[in-house]
């Protein structure tokens, strides 16, 4: 089946202080209709830039964005307008992304009218009611005349989700959409996103730095782990979480504390060779993770850029040459000092 949206060899750089920052390098990612994909990684790994390119807020510096198999540029006129509606993004901070001077009714009403989604006042009202009900802000009558500051953080985030639903999107990019919301309320919003995905046949790209949350949300979907502008591992969530392949994914998963005292205190951590994340202006040659990788193979990892391939005995793809070629990883310390001396 043709994916809803596909990134092919996407590169993106930014010019900052006359320096060229390669934020994304050779991103290949396809998202099917009704699919959930999580992008995880640390700050600066390019997950937000990828999300913005998917949502159409940014273009790639090179590479292709295909929508239902056709290049984005081939969508013009009315088609382009429909496309813009189809791809939507929900931002992290609902305080910043919603106009504080407008009522919730206005916030939802503007896009409905601007995009001609409704034909009469009555229909507008009915649609606003419907949207508020969809995001569990009920009874809508209590909410519609309120201003954002009169709502809690969780309710505000529901309003920003309702707002992207005004234009009947096909894909929602949720960029750290529950990071600012309290623990007790987060799960409610995630469950709602799951329900909306079913009800409205949405695809969701969920961007987060929280691996436990990614695991929970994308259990039926896929996870892509990013490091310094590249996807280093991608696969079905249970595979990636239970059997991480790439050394970086292994390090991340091993580093996460767990809400279980015995488990978290006995967790084996994976010691990196360096704690410094390289700057984007000085991305190491070969595999960008090699200066920190505990399984570094000199002469291989520092010279060849690893492609995303299936390692033997894994169901996912990983960008790690030693693992893909030999099926196992040997700690660097054993390699340089085989007798353990």
């Amino acid at each position: 089946m043709t994916p809803l949206i596909e990134l092919k060899h996407v590169y993106r750089h930014f010019e900052v202080n006359r320096q060229r920052l390669p934020v994304l390098q050779d991103i290949n990612l396809s998202i099917a209709a009704n699919e959930i994909v999580c992008l995880v990684g640390e700050s600066g790994c390019g997950k937000t830039t990828t999300g913005k390119i998917l949502a159409g807020l940014l273009g790639p510096s090179s590479g292709e964005v295909l929508i239902e198999g056709r290049p984005r540029a081939s969508y013009t006129g009315r088609e382009a307008a429909l496309l813009r509606r189809a791809l939507q993004i929900v931002h992290q901070d609902p305080f910043a992304s919603i106009n504080p001077a407008h009522t919730i009714g206005q916030i939802l009403g503007f896009p409905l009218q601007r995009h001609g989604m409704v034909r009469s006042r009555a229909e507008l009202r009915r649609r606003i009611w419907e949207l508020l009900t969809l995001v569990d802000l009920t009874p809508p009558g209590d909410i519609v005349n309120k201003f954002p500051h009169q709502l809690s953080g969780g309710q505000r985030q529901r309003v920003s989700i309702a707002r992207v639903l005004t234009v009947n999107p096909r894909l929602i990019v949720a960029d750290e959409a529950v990071s600012m919301v309290d623990v007790s309320i987060r799960i409610g919003i995630l469950k709602m996103l799951h329900r909306l995905r079913e009800q409205l046949n949405l695809s969701i790209v969920f961007i987060t730095h929280d691996l436990a949350l990614a695991k929970y949300f994308a259990w039926d979907g896929r996870i892509a782990v990013m490091y310094l502008g590249r996807i280093v591992e991608i696969g079905r969530t249970p595979d990636v979480i239970a059997h991480p392949a790439h050394p970086y994914t292994r390090a991340l998963l091993a580093a996460v504390p767990e809400a279980d005292p015995e488990l978290t205190r006995h967790k084996q951590h994976l010691e990196l060779r360096s704690e410094d994340i390289p700057r984007l202006t000085e991305i190491p040659p070969g595999c960008a993770f090699h200066p920190r990788c505990p399984f570094f193979v000199p002469g291989v990892c520092d010279t060849r850029v690893p492609p995303l391939e299936p390692p033997p005995d894994y169901n996912q793809l990983a960008a790690c040459i030693p693992l893909v070629e030999t099926g196992r990883l040997i700690p660097y310390t054993e390699r340089v000092n085989p007798d353990g001396r």
């Binding site: 640390e42 969780g154 309320i185 799960i187 436990a212 998963l253 809400a259």
Partner: protein, 337 residues
Amino acid sequence: MPNDVVVSVRDLSVSYLARRGRVRAVNRASFDLHAGETLALIGESGCGKSTLNLALIRQLPKNATIDSGSILYTRRDKSVVDVLKLNKAELRRFLWSEFAMVFQGALNSLNPVIRVSDMVYDTAAAHGLNKAAAEKRALHLFEKVRLDPYRVFRAYPHELSGGMRQRVLLAMSLLLQPQVVIMDEPTTAVDILTQRSILDVLQTLREELNFSVIFISHDLAVAAEIADTIATMYAGDIVEVGPVNEVFYRPRHAYTLALLNAAPRLSAGAEELYSIPGSPPDLIHPPPGCKFHPRCTFATEVCRTVLPPLVAAEAGHQVACHHTDDVVTAYRKVSRA
């Protein structure tokens, strides 16, 4: 535990004066912190955990008042200090040397225009420590927190990464060998691997220097890893206190249970999680009775009228809930393998 109490807080209440009325941010909080103990205060935004800590170090904003209670601090020589009665000069000497703090967002806590070395010298000068001794200790601590001591000592804050800055702060907080370090969400705005290095470093420092920590966090996982004791706060009240394993494996307050049921676990496979309905109450007009009752699945008539006091339960546990037994049973039912 006898006689090794370092900080003893009793009936501490703090409120803020707002335009709409008085915000009761902390209500009659009582707890003891023992030597070498790490106490994690967990709760959601607005539960009063940061206010409680600002009160401990007397750094509350101007519109806040301490309405009642006492904070007693026992020095190493066993003399007792009434923290609320310290005057300005005494307080200045007291902080850093007895009570130190590490805040969230390391960039805000470091002066951007002076070198780390000058911050060390300034701190030393303010507390009558000589320059050479301060430098020696700072270098030692920087090494302990896995930094390149000489490089960091000469650096300006902007030359250090976020994780390095946070470790500098951690090291600086220990410069004057305080007995207590307060940490307000020290790993909240950092990446996973940075968080890991901060947690590991903290563990090493605690083993070597044996100070007590009051750790404020909304992150149950971090609390599970580093705390000896957990105190759950809700709407300004301490609702449950207990040893970490007790609280995580045998929660007795409905709110703690609800928090645990909302926390995803990486290693748990497919799991069912539950959010807590509603949102935290308005602290100007909190609900009567137990403040959690409007959101609580166990609530009955008594919860709506009577505020449950914090009382001792088994195994060093203290809890303020009318339905402790139901909570314990409910937890067993959904208990994970």
